[in-house]
């Protein structure tokens, strides 16, 4: 059974079609990335999955439980880390986590709460009031709150936005462990290197529609090999090399060219042809294609 099954979901806010017939299936145990520029509909989709918003049409099931008709079972199956840094100023970290457990019907959860606190580096702050925590610490508590009920599906909406290196590493170590233990993880992020390193499969959203859905490896293969970025002192690229030009990056620099290279020995041939045309190279670098290149290609070039 799919961890999350999204079927023909549509959502409109006034004149804006936030989601336009989105269908997706996320398998059990996956580390899934949901990528897209701001306003693509990622957070709307997450809100619908989490029950914070309702779809105009279509359905969402979490481990087979419809998020509207069977909302109790659906919400027990998922832990959501919201994007906004929110907290209840009346309570301490431990009170916050105990109450969050209670809302899910769990009492006597202290052993697991202690483990979460430890894993997220929050043990020393357990009895501190939420108001007194730094932004990074509040972010950790948000993650902890999403995990109190050991949800089989964990959904993180830009958990590392504006977060320091230490927390990122702590967070991914813990989430990675949970994923290895069988938890499904769904992540949205603007840090594409993070998605590339963590996610086994990725969906890309653009203006409310899924424009790419594939394994990370297959997406990376769309831009095969590497790219050779050449900047000439004068003149323009010989016509014999034009077929290698990559269209992923529109550059305002008319003397700079990005060429696709499948094997490193092709670099030698390209350089030879440039020399043969009597041109001089000012700058040269070899760039390994990454998810950012794929993202830019799919989203239709840099805005």
């Amino acid at each position: 059974m799919a961890a999350i099954r999204i079927d023909q979901v549509r959502k409109r806010f006034g004149a804006l079609q936030a989601l336009d017939s989105v269908s997706l299936e996320i398998a059990n145990g996956e580390f899934f990335g949901l990528l897209g520029p701001n306003g693509a509909g990622k957070t709307t989709l997450i809100s619908i999955i989490a029950g914070l918003a309702r779809a105009d049409q279509g359905s969402v099931r979490i481990l087979g439980h419809d998020v509207v008709t069977d909302f109790r079972a659906a919400r027990r199956s998922i832990g959501v880390v919201p994007q906004e840094l929110v907290f209840d100023p009346f309570f301490t970290v431990r009170e916050t986590l105990r109450m969050q457990s209670g809302y899910f019907g769990i009492s006597g959860n202290d052993a697991w709460i202690d483990e979460i606190l430890h894993e997220l580096g929050l043990t020393a702050k357990a009895d501190t009031n939420m108001r007194a925590l730094s932004g990074g610490m509040k972010r950790r508590v948000l993650v902890a709150q999403a995990l109190v009920h050991k949800p089989p599906v964990i959904m993180l909406d830009e958990p590392t936005a504006g977060v320091d290196v230490e927390l990122r590493q702590t967070l991914w170590r813990f989430i990675g462990r949970l994923n290895r233990e069988g938890h499904t993880v769904v992540l949205t992020t603007h840090y594409l290197e993070e998605a590339q390193a963590l996610c086994s499969r990725i969906a890309m959203l653009k203006t409310g529609a899924v424009v790419a859905l594939d394994s990370t490896a297959a997406l990376l293969k769309r831009i095969s090999g590497s790219q050779l970025v050449v900047r000439l002192t004068t003149g323009s690229l010989p016509a014999s090399l034009h077929h290698l030009l990559s269209h992923t990056e529109a550059s305002s620099d008319t003397r700079q060219y990005t060429l696709r290279v499948n094997h490193h020995d092709e670099v030698e041939q390209i350089l030879a042809q440039i020399r043969h045309a009597g041109l001089a190279i000012e700058d040269l670098r070899l760039h390994q294609a990454d998810l950012e290149d794929v993202f830019i290609q799919i989203m239709g070039g840099r805005q």
């Binding site: 918003a53 109790r72 079972a73 919201p82 100023p89 009346f90 969050q100 809302y103």
Partner: protein, 251 residues
């Protein structure tokens, strides 16, 4: 039940942590009313035969405190959670609309009761009270607190900003309680205003509550009970429906 119990506990802890503002302050305010109005009117007004004005005033003030604080509790808790965004922690959980309704309303009732009890205990130092029908006292206090807790819930769901909630409180709740016969017997009013008072559901809560103390009331206590019960049923079905539909809570 754990979910409901936890939300109730959270709501109780929330006002308990700021008890100076949520319990002590309203008790002091009620005392000021009693001292001032009692002093000015004691020798001039006798609403019921054989009942001193101060003694008449006490149940009205107690009920007013119960009502206003029950409303304040659920409404301010919800609007704060909405504006700070932490309501999401409740919306993400399997808590049902019934659990949310009963936890918010019960917490509001408890705060209303605590304030009302505080006012009553302190006023016993100043006024001689009788408790003719204690069961009616408890019944009307329960229903009144539940009604205002429910109204607070509805107002908190509806309001998007603090000033909208303040408008609800200042232009609806406060006039309705003040004009419900807290400070006077409605029978002292001209016929038109007497009729207006009878259209105010708050009047029946206070009148029925006062009956429990003196065995006197402006209308028959059973009539008041029916009106108040009906009012509670209507309001609670509105509140539960709003919660179920996620009105202004789930987009």
């Amino acid at each position: 039940m754990t979910g409901f119990r936890t939300l109730l506990y959270k709501e109780l802890l929330r006002f308990w942590k700021v008890a100076t503002q949520t319990l002590t302050a309203p008790i002091v305010t009620a005392m000021l009313y009693l001292l001032i109005f009692g002093h000015v009117l004691e020798d001039h007004v006798q609403p019921f035969p054989g009942v001193a004005y101060t003694a008449f005033l006490v149940p009205g003030l107690v009920m007013m405190s119960v009502l206003q604080n029950a409303f304040a509790n659920s409404s301010s808790s919800l609007i704060q959670s909405k504006i700070t965004g932490n309501l999401v922690f409740i919306l993400l959980t399997p808590l049902s609309h019934w659990e949310m309704f009963s936890a918010y309303v019960l917490a509001a009732m408890i705060r209303g009761f605590l304030v009302g009890l505080g006012v009553m205990l302190i006023t016993l130092l100043f006024a001689k009270l009788s408790f003719v029908e204690p069961l009616w006292i408890v019944l009307f206090a329960l229903l009144g607190a539940a009604i205002l807790g429910t109204m607070g819930l509805i107002a908190g769901i509806w309001a998007e900003k603090f000033d909208q909630l303040a408008a609800f409180q200042n232009f609806l709740i406060v006039p309705a309680t003040f004009l419900a016969g807290v400070f006077y017997s409605v029978h002292s009013l001209p016929p038109f205003w007497l009729a207006v008072s009878h259209a105010n559901p708050f009047f029946y809560m206070i009148d029925g509550f006062r009956y429990g103390f003196f065995g006197y009331s402006d209308v028959a206590p059973l009539t008041s009970l029916y009106v108040v019960l009906l009012f509670f049923l209507v309001l609670s079905s509105i509140a539960v429906t709003l919660l179920k539909r996620g009105y202004k809570l789930r987009h």
